[in-house]
């Protein structure tokens, strides 16, 4: 009896022929199943014996569909050529698990396929098919929604973005005692329009300030913009060409609106690839303005003598991690090394490197798919071994995704190492012109010993977003706290029992069990009812009506949490709140 096909499976199959172009069709046909790709994938190397991670195996999940519906040999004799269609939603879930959860689209297998099969490209195509029928990890859905609706993939609101730029401008003016230092916004006819990754505005604003001070001392005529400032593009990760085109077009339109001469893309592998390489195709635009990575901009400033650098200011041993998108898909391998040789004094090569480097494991949108975090970290073993072998204390990369992926694996594998971007090193090595120094000097009248507001305190951070965990960890650790962070409520409960924190920050929207449920469990349990909790959530009530926290605690007659913050959060605000709470209260375990 024929199996009835589900609505979603039908829609996916109907969409398939529209997504297969000639290059993709050739990749789907050309595989000879030689298996040479197997040991080129970090997932395979870290999970020996599990065939489901092998690139050819993963590619075959998609190839079977192609054979069943497009290649006539698969329609005539499906069992003979391994063709198989999809019928049930469970099969779509299995496909989702493969194309989202077992591949970062790093393209290492593609580069090592003797037949030239571009597995990463049709893996992306399969993601796009699934997204089209609404089958995708929750994190992918959230991020894509933010980029469609708010205009950037981290949901940074315009007032927060502009506020951050103002804050950084003030910091720089105060640091250099120079009111002329500006972060221009929407300045017409600038030579450079600088676009960033929203992660910078939300979690790492210092990189914006560092870029700004480099532009300032280079004498650049530059600007940022109120619209189209996000050069990242989740369309690359979720396979949605329409999203890819819309996001790229926002940036291109901003270039036109401001009549800027050159688009400079801050350090981000997928952002550069999306905006510089794939964007014109997705947006169907023939562009006349040049685009370059900030790597080239900084390198040229040094080469042209526009800024001076002193490499002895970065004396620690440094290695470089090539982002997959920059090295394999955009050919940027030598310029970062040239730059590193100029700004640090002990550069050590990682092996393998350049186009043969292994993925950071955070690529392909992996950082937004928290359900796959355990397998991501397991597969990161290969990268951890690479890093450890260098003996470096700092791994530099030129990609914000890689920063997060590397940060996570460094912690997981307990490596004695930190992650930095090139801009961090360039800014640190930059020699400030004497005139500016002279102005700065008089203001340094005394050295204030920092007060460690959280010294001796233990804080538990519960959030499914690695970025947020890293951000909060950095804030609390800087103030002397011991931080434990976990990605879900089950692990949080175990951490509360074993680590006995003085305070917990709690996200609300998390997979498996939401934060409000954990809050309820805690408040009902006499052992933990007094544990101070600060809710830190990125979802307003109207966006997540199922989790209206204030209504929830009112209905359950629960006490209010000690603090409640909505993302994006400013470090001062969270620090003031947390320090205030732990300062007042004695830990219930003491």
């Amino acid at each position: 009896m024929p199996v009835e096909r589900s609505e979603r499976a039908t829609a996916l199959i109907e969409r398939l022929p529209q997504k297969v172009n000639r290059q993709m069709m050739l990749s789907l046909e050309a595989c000879v199943h030689c298996g040479l790709c197997s040991d080129q994938c970090h997932y395979v190397l870290a999970n020996p014996g599990d065939v489901t991670y092998a690139p050819a195996y993963k590619a075959d999940r998609i190839r079977k569909l192609f054979k069943a519906h497009i290649d006539w040999s698969g329609r005539v004799a499906p069992w003979w050529v391994g063709a198989r269609s999809v019928y049930r939603d469970e099969e779509l879930e299995e496909l989702k698990d493969t194309v989202f959860g077992k591949c970062t689209n790093c393209r290492r297998c593609t580069m090592n396929c003797p037949m030239g099969v571009d597995m990463a490209t049709f893996n992306r195509m399969a993601r796009g098919l699934l997204v089209h029928v609404g089958v995708m990890p929750d994190g992918v859905a959230h991020v894509a929604k933010d980029q469609w609706e708010i205009g950037n993939q981290m949901g940074v609101l315009p007032e927060d973005y502009l506020g951050t730029l103002t804050w950084m401008e003030q910091e720089l003016q105060s640091e250099y005692n120079d009111p002329e230092i500006k972060i221009p916004v929407d300045k017409p006819d600038a030579d450079v329009l600088y676009t960033i990754n929203p992660r910078e505005a939300k979690y790492d604003p210092r990189t914006i300030a560092e870029a700004a001070i480099i532009f300032h001392f280079a004498g650049e005529n530059w600007t940022m913009s109120t619209e189209g400032w996000d050069m990242t593009n989740f369309g690359l990760f979720n396979g949605d060409d329409e999203l890819g085109g819309a996001v790229s077009a926002r940036v291109y339109d901003t270039m036109t609106r401001l009549r800027a001469r050159k688009l400079v893309i801050s350090e981000c592998g997928h952002g550069f690839r999306s905006t510089r390489c794939e964007g014109p195709n997705w947006a169907k635009r023939d562009l006349s303005f040049p685009m370059e990575s900030a790597i080239f901009t900084m390198l040229n400033y040094i080469k042209e003598g526009r800024i001076q650098v002193d490499k002895s200011r970065n004396p620690e041993p440094v290695t470089y991690h090539d982002s997959c998108n920059l090295a394999r898909s955009c050919g940027i391998t030598e310029e970062p090394r040239e730059l590193l040789q100029l700004v640090c004094s002990d550069f050590r090569e990682m092996h393998p490197n350049r186009a043969e480097n292994f993925c950071c494991t955070g690529g392909g949108g992996a950082m937004s798919m928290t359900e796959y975090a355990p397998r991501r970290l397991q597969s990161a073993k290969i990268k951890a071994e690479q890093l450890r072998a260098t003996g470096a204390k700092t791994v530099v990369t030129s990609c914000h995704n890689c920063v997060d992926g590397l940060f996570d694996l460094i912690r997981h594998y307990k490596l004695d190492m930190e992650v930095k971007l090139l801009v961090n090193l360039v800014a640190k090595a930059m020699v400030v012109p004497q005139a500016a120094v002279a102005e700065v000097m008089p203001t340094v009248v005394e050295v204030v010993q920092p007060v460690m507001q959280l010294a001796g305190r233990k804080i538990l951070v519960v959030d499914d977003e690695p970025d947020v965990r890293a951000y909060l960890r950095a804030i609390f650790e800087e103030q002397g706290a011991q931080v434990v962070d976990v990605p879900d409520c089950n692990q949080a409960m175990r951490a509360i029992e074993s680590d006995r924190p003085d305070l917990m920050t709690l996200d609300l929207i998390m997979p498996h069990k939401t934060g409000d449920k954990l809050y309820w469990d805690l408040r009902k349990d006499p052992n933990y009812a007094n544990l101070p909790v600060v809710i830190i959530t990125g979802y307003m009530r109207m966006e997540a009506p199922g989790i209206d926290f204030h209504r929830f605690i009112a209905e359950k007659n629960l006490p209010a949490p000690e603090g409640f913050l909505e993302k994006p959060i400013q470090p001062e605000a969270v620090l003031a709140l947390v320090a205030g709470i732990v300062g007042k209260r004695v830990s219930l375990h003491k």
Binding site: N21, R22, Q23, M24, M25, L26, S27, E29, A30, C31, H33, G35, L36, C37, D39, Q40, V44, V51, T52, A54, A56, Y57, D60, S73, W80, V81, G82, T110, M111, N112, C113, P114, M115, G116, V117, D118, R276, C277, E278, G279, P280, N281, R285, D286, L287, P290, M291, A327, R328, S329, C330, G331, E349, H351, P352, N353, R354, A355, E356, N357
Partner: protein
Amino acid sequence: MYQTSPLLQFAENQLQIIALLFMAVVYALKIRWIFRFPEGKDRQAPGGKGAIGAAKGAKTSLLAIAMPWTMASTRNHGLLYAQFVVFHLGVAASIAMSFLIPYAPGLMRGPGAVLALQALFGLAALVGVVRLVRRLGSPYLRAISSPDDYFSLGLLIVWLAFSALAAPNRGEAAEWPLTAYFLLTAFFLIYVPFSKISHYIYYPFARWYLGRTLGHRGSYPLVKGA
């Protein structure tokens, strides 16, 4: 005086021509099918340093198979690469022999040439067996292998073995190796377009497009790890 049997005569002449024509028609249809898929357009500006470019990328990509040092997969698996070379040389030589025996037997007359061909076919058949054992033994390969993968490999092993037997081209001593070889060749020619063996039709297109795209953006030829 030795007289070639009507079956062998038919097998090495008319049957081969029919099979070749059939293969040519199917291949023409396949190529037409390839071009029915829209070509993905590339609007991005050229990237990388001037020395690369789309043309160089495409050319290097096409020749990648002859440059095992350029890919970690072939560089680190030298024995597998050597097997690939022997196997494909054996197949190419056997195809050539199917033309030489009926139309230019003089070119294969010397004992040295026959011995060399037999050694090549024997070695290629042996490699085929090794590949079959590998395919059956490796869980990774088993998981991706279809019946066509096994059958195609088996067919080539048998065909190469009969190629070794047919190479002396001595019908007067025994016709069956020649007859079997030509019948197998005809079957091979007819079956190939429907099997994975037709990968060589896709190879130049797939590599050309990949090399052209990546060469245009400056990331191919690859910068090998230092």
